[in-house]
Structure formats: C-alpha cells, structure tokens
Symmetry: C2
Subunit: 253 residues, 2 copies
C-alpha cells in the first residue's frame, strides 16, 4: 500500500467505498483503534508525533501492531490529512463489512436510523450516543454523511470501532424491520412525547432526520408514530443529536 497516495485518495467518499478503507487521525482515536477489532493497513506519522510522551508510546504501539508504518515530512503529512488537528498520526484501516444480516434481533432491541443527517459533527454525536446506550446498530440512510469519514470518526470518538454502523437503502431496512417485527418511530419537532414504558414496542427503530428538513417523505410515510420533546415556545427545535440523546436515554430508562 502506498500510504501517502492512499491517504490522499481516501479523502473522497467514493474511494473509501470502493476500497472499504477509512482514515483515523489523532492520538486518542488511534489509541482506541488499536484496542479495537478493526484491522489496520498502515500508518503515516510525522516528526511531531514523538514530541510528547503519549505520542511516543503510541508510536511504539503502532510499530508493534500496524502492518506498515511510514514517517514522512510535515509537508507531505499535511497534504494527506483529513481533519484539522491530526497530531502527527494517520492510520488507514478496513471498514468492517457489516450488513443488516449481522444485527442480532431480540426483544428489547433498539436501532437508530440516520435519515439524511448531513453534518459530520451531528452524525458522530449520534453514533457515539447510540453506542453509549447500547443501541444494536446505527444505520445511515441515503443522504446521510459517510459514517466512515475522518470527521465523523473524530466526532464519534471512534465509537464506530465497537458499535455496528452501516449504510443501507431504506427499502432494505424497511423489509428487514417488517421481517423482524421491528416497529419504526420517527423523531419530529413538535410531535408528542414518548408514550409510557408499557406502550413502547419490544423491538423499536428510531429515525432522526435532516438538520433542516427533518425526516424524508419515504421514512415519514413508513413510521408508525412520531415522537418529540416538549420545549418552551421561544425556540422551535433542538439539535438533532441532542433530541436523539434525550429520546434514547428515555427509551433505555
């Protein structure tokens, strides 16, 4: 693998999808990556990594665990990085090939559907929240930012490494939910609050929509119920990740 060329190429979503590879940057995310089951292909570092104690330890860990390691000039490194503060380390790793068939369904299951969520910070916070509460999988529907982009990985604090995330067409997800008797609810501004515990289905998927336009019409048509969070009148809506966090917290409590 030509690491420098590959890292540059993987800035494009199409290249990540074609090669099923993604990029992790920064010390903390790389530490998380190396402790996860995700397979790595190679790492690029520049001289800034080994300037701190934590960076030096990470460099040793990379040497032991990553198939290929290259130290490049700070100039070359800067041309390859995807995020603002890569801290001198970039790792190329394999996107896990999870599919709907990998989701183990039983009563109590909750899924999160990202329905055209566009902001990487929001998508990352959603995945992180889903992972934190034990949601079985985060499923990105068309129009959603690539969950394997370096910005989303950073915002999710690497929770993709230990929580099932996948991209799927809504038709396939819809069939899967029907087959597995999973009920679909949608989060919507102004909708009534969650019903009491005994009125909640044993198997539930919660869809959250686009930052500007909410749920897509395909999803809105398919949901059995919309749920929301009562707020005062002055502000009409919450940030999508905050709203989902509140709903998921309630669903698990």
């Amino acid at each position: 693998l030509k690491l420098l060329t590959a890292a540059r190429d993987l800035k494009r979503r199409k290249a990540r999808e074609r090669n099923t590879l993604f990029v992790v940057e920064g010390i903390r995310a790389t530490e998380e990556l190396l402790r996860s089951p995700i397979r790595t292909r190679g790492a690029l570092v520049d001289s800034s990594l080994a300037k701190g104690e934590r960076g030096r330890l990470l460099l040793d860990e990379l040497k032991a665990k990553v198939p290929e390691l290259a130290e490049v000039s700070e100039h070359d490194f800067a041309t390859a990085v995807h995020t603002d503060s890569p801290q001198g380390v970039l790792v190329i790793a394999e996107i896990p090939e999870w599919s709907l068939a990998d989701i183990v369904v039983s009563d109590g299951i909750r899924l999160l559907l990202l329905d055209a969520v566009q902001d990487p910070g929001n998508a990352g916070a959603l995945v992180r929240t889903a992972a934190a509460f034990g949601v079985a999988a985060s499923i990105a529907l068309p129009g959603t930012v690539d969950l394997w982009s370096a910005k989303v990985v950073r915002s999710a604090m690497g929770s993709q490494f230990r929580h099932t995330v996948l991209h799927a067409e809504f038709g396939d997800v819809s069939e899967f939910m029907t087959r597995e008797q999973i009920v679909l609810w949608g989060s919507e501004t102004g909708a009534p609050p969650l019903p009491s515990r005994d009125a909640r289905p044993a198997r539930l998927a919660l869809a959250v929509g686009n930052e500007g336009s909410g749920l897509t019409s395909a999803v809105r048509t398919r949901v059995e119920r919309t749920v929301g969070i009562p707020t005062t009148a002055a502000v009409e809506s919450l940030n999508v990740a905050v709203a989902a966090g509140i709903l998921l917290h309630e669903l698990y409590n």
Copy 2:
C-alpha cells in the same frame, strides 16, 4: 460603518469584543435576527441572495429594517464571510450587553455554565438547548469559544437572539451564585445520575466542561455535586451537548 472592512475585521474575537459587534450569516439566521430585538448596523449581500424567492423576500426586509445595505461582488463578499455557506447575506449586529445583573432570579431558576467548551458546534447546541428548555441564561466561562462567533450563532440557530448569553469570569459567577443562593452542580462522566425531584435545589446552575478534559479545577472545587448519565461500559462518555440536553430535559421534567 465600512461594511466590508468591518465584516472582515469581525472575524477576530478581539474585534468583536472591542466593538461589541457580531456577524450573522445565512438566510434563516438573518430572518431570525430581523424578528428579534437585536439591533443591526448593516448588511452585505451579493447577487446570489436574490436568486431564490426566500432570498428576494429577505432582501426587501433588509432594505426596510437595516440602517445600511451594500451589494458587493461575489468575490468581495467571499473575503468577508465567516462561515461555509453564507447564502449571499451577512449582517453586522450589536452584541447585547447582558451581565449577571440582568438575570432575574427566582425559585425554579436554572442556569447553564459552559466551562471551557471549545467546539463551536457543541457551544451552539448547548445554547440552543438551554434556550429551548427555558434556562434563564447560558454563561460562558474563560476558555469557552466566543458565543458570538458566526459559527456558534449558526449552530445555535440564532437562539442567542432571544436567550440571555454572556461571558463572565468564574469568580464573579461564583459570588453571584452565593449571593442569590444558587447551587452549583457539575456534569461529569461516570458521576451518579440526577437525584429525585425533591432532592433538587430550587435554584440551580449546571456546569458542563471541556470536550477533552471536563470541568476546570476551579469549577470542580466549587460544585456541590457532580451528576452524570449512566451508559453501558463500552463507551466512556457522551458528547457534551448531548449530555447537557439529557440533564436539562430531566431537570425540567
């Protein structure tokens, strides 16, 4: 006011603070601004604004409401803007000079303290959430991103226009809380959940900390209690805005 020069200058936090002016960009945020009590100084537009119906309506509204309006070339406009998709409109407005003395304290009051929150997206989501739930004020402590930066305004969906936000030193905030008998709690990863309703103080300020390092030592020393959100073991923490959203939602329910 030389609008183009002023807009460029206001990219710097120091310039915003010295002039008590800030910049709003984008159609929706500008619409919100013009319906709020915030005073405007002038607007810059380029030819792209009037290409859509909503933009044309906004242009008419700007002509009627803003003291000074300049249409500049797309090139000049691009040199003045602060965010990625300004949609052809930028307004310079006055930062409201709110202080601790403007906060009306009574039983039931809740305040949000941002203790060195650095990400503009997180800070904006926090302010938006506080506004949505009726928090009396969002107070940014030193180390926090400028709540009047264009990125924070955008992320907050302009909730600064109708919700009291201010920057203050922690010493002043601490004295204010003592004088007004407001109890300080801090949100911290791994801390116990919120106590039951009857164990919650009538007057409460909730502090949330930095994305990486949590609460500063000054705040941690001063809090009477830390509270958290139980999660599964796999992921150690939630995004700061998601965590605050869950806690504030509980505090208002």
